[in-house]
């Protein structure tokens, strides 16, 4: 998937992949985060 120029909704998980880590990845791919949130499922 080509992420460059796309806006991305980022939902992370505390014990999985947290949102800031996903954000770093999508920014490096040239995308722009529209929402960055980590959730806790416990």
């Amino acid at each position: 998937m080509e992420l460059k120029g796309k806006r991305v909704i980022i939902l992370g998980e505390r014990d999985g992949v947290q949102a800031p880590a996903i954000e770093a990845c999508i920014r490096s791919a040239g995308a722009e985060p529209a929402l960055v949130q980590t959730h806790c499922f416990v």
Partner: protein, 483 residues
């Protein structure tokens, strides 16, 4: 460096199905769809089922985590044939007795229990080993008409699982959202749970309450008023209710990571000589009752978030006997450490091990988030302890300390981990549930080291996107048996 020791721990469980309607998720959903409460109520367990539920018996110390791993699952369908309400690490009470303890914890006439119900409770509270004379003085009833009038004015009604209405909790300042009845209910429940755990710890260890110098609260409740939301210091209220007349205290707030932070702070206070005897307490998280009820109803399993939990532990100077908290082993998830799980676990586990010259296999057991997977997995939230253990195993494999592949990983998880057995009570579930078993095993020299690590979801408060984490190693006391 003089390392502090952990002398003991006690857990207090209360089976409170009637309070599930006051959990955050159920209360919001019931407000939108009032008949939903009857659907939830039909899936709530009775006390005997909660008592015989194997994970609760592990918390009380009557069953080890390794023994739990060998039991037939699902545990909710396989109650233990013999179960006790008390064990070497704590006790469980039913909802009626808990309402008596809630009233006993109430210094402001907030909880109003119906006259007939109070007369039913009085002999039970009288016979309860942890009650004080002041508790009995607090246990006064109200006429039903007066309770109905309070509810008309905004008080929150209180029920048993049976549906019997038994009272209400009111506010004494209607314009203050921080003192709303539901908030006061959460805070009073936390006070009661932490107080009973501390009283049990002191009584069972023969520790005079007056010998406690400092109490640290590590729970997630927000005690305060409109000008001081979350101002805190439940610790001192618990110290007062436990007769610790020579203590003061404060709260350490760090979401689920609070207890581990509090233990490190307590250890520092002891080691520096500021205070000799420091108790760390954590009350319950009433807001989390019924948190995952949707998933449980959907999968036709009992609504298992029906138990409140609190704990108390005691730390002090090295007594040559008790396990030591190695202050040189503290691991931290720093601001700059990054948010990837590999980076977090490296900071909490790998870095402290390297610093002490230890390998992953030197740690007998790792105590991580110990949420009961039967509660989380059945609601689509996965098995949190297993996820964490697999990541620790992956770090061990990367360092070449175990073989690569799922077979070695699973063996490492089985030998150095454990199944989750804690109610989903936030901070209570983070590492500390294993503390009683760790102290037992370290005292018996069945292992030399146990590592405790916890994570906190700071991002939930919307002040940072970061999570948090802290860890420490407990060590069998090297002086034991040398004299």
């Amino acid at each position: 460096m003089d390392h502090p020791v952990v002398k003991g721990v006690r857990f207090f469980l209360a089976h409170t199905p009637g309070l599930v309607r006051h959990g955050s998720k159920p209360s919001r959903e019931i407000a939108k769809d009032p008949p939903l409460w009857e659907t939830i109520r039909a899936s709530l367990r009775g006390y005997e089922d909660a008592l015989a539920y194997a994970p609760h018996q592990v918390l009380l110390g009557n069953l080890t985590p390794d023994a739990l791993a060998e039991l037939q699952a699902p545990w909710y369908e396989n109650p233990l044939p013999e179960a006790s309400a008390s064990g070497p690490h704590g006790e469980i009470v039913d909802e009626e007795l808990f309402y008596a303890l809630l009233k006993a914890a109430d210094d402001f006439d907030l909880v109003h229990l119906e006259n007939g119900f109070v007369e039913r409770l009085r002999p039970r509270l009288q016979a309860y080993r942890l009650r004080s004379e002041r508790d009995l003085d607090h246990l006064k009833g109200s006429p039903l008409a007066a309770i109905d009038a309070l509810i008309d004015q905004g008080a929150a009604p209180l029920f048993l699982r049976s549906g019997e209405a038994i009272g209400a909790i009111r506010t004494d300042y209607a314009e203050d959202a921080s003192l709303a009845p539901e908030v006061l209910l959460e805070n009073l429940a936390a006070k009661a749970a932490a107080t009973m755990a501390l009283r049990a710890l002191l009584a069972d260890s023969g520790t005079p309450a007056a010998s406690i110098d400092y109490v640290i609260g590590s729970g997630e409740e927000a005690v305060g008023d409109r000008y001081n939301r979350g101002g805190g210091n439940l610790a001192k209220a618990v110290a007062e209710a436990s007769g610790c007349i020579n203590a003061t205290g404060a709260d350490v707030k760090a979401f689920c990571c609070g207890p581990v932070h509090a233990m490190v702070v307590a250890g520092g206070l002891v080691a520096s000589g500021v205070f000799a005897n420091v108790a760390v307490v954590g009350g319950c998280s009433l807001a989390k009752l019924g948190m995952k009820f949707r998933g449980h109803l959907q999968n036709e399993v009992p609504v298992m978030e029906d138990v409140l939990a609190g704990f108390a532990l005691l730390m002090g100077p090295d007594d040559g006997e008790s396990p030591r908290l190695r202050l040189d082993s503290v691991g931290r998830h720093t601001v700059g450490a990054g948010s990837a799980q590999q980076q977090i676990m490296a900071a909490l586990v790998e870095e402290p091990l390297s610093r002490l010259g230890l390998g992953f296999n030197d740690i007998g057991k790792y105590a991580t988030e110990l949420h009961n997977p039967e509660i989380t997995d059945t609601a689509g939230s996965g098995d949190v302890p297993r996820t964490n253990y697999r990541l620790i195993a992956a770090l061990a494999a990367r360092r070449g300390e175990i073989a690569a592949g799922s077979e070695a990983r699973d063996r490492f998880v089985r030998e150095h981990g454990m199944p989750g057995f804690s109610p989903t009570q936030g901070h209570v579930a983070s590492a500390v549930p294993y503390l009683g078993h760790a102290l037992d095993a370290l005292r018996r020299r069945e292992m030399r080291y146990a590592m405790f690590l916890a994570k906190g979801s700071l991002f939930l408060g919307r002040m940072t996107h970061l999570s948090d984490g802290e860890s420490f190693i407990l060590e069998a006391n090297p002086k034991k048996g040398q004299d």
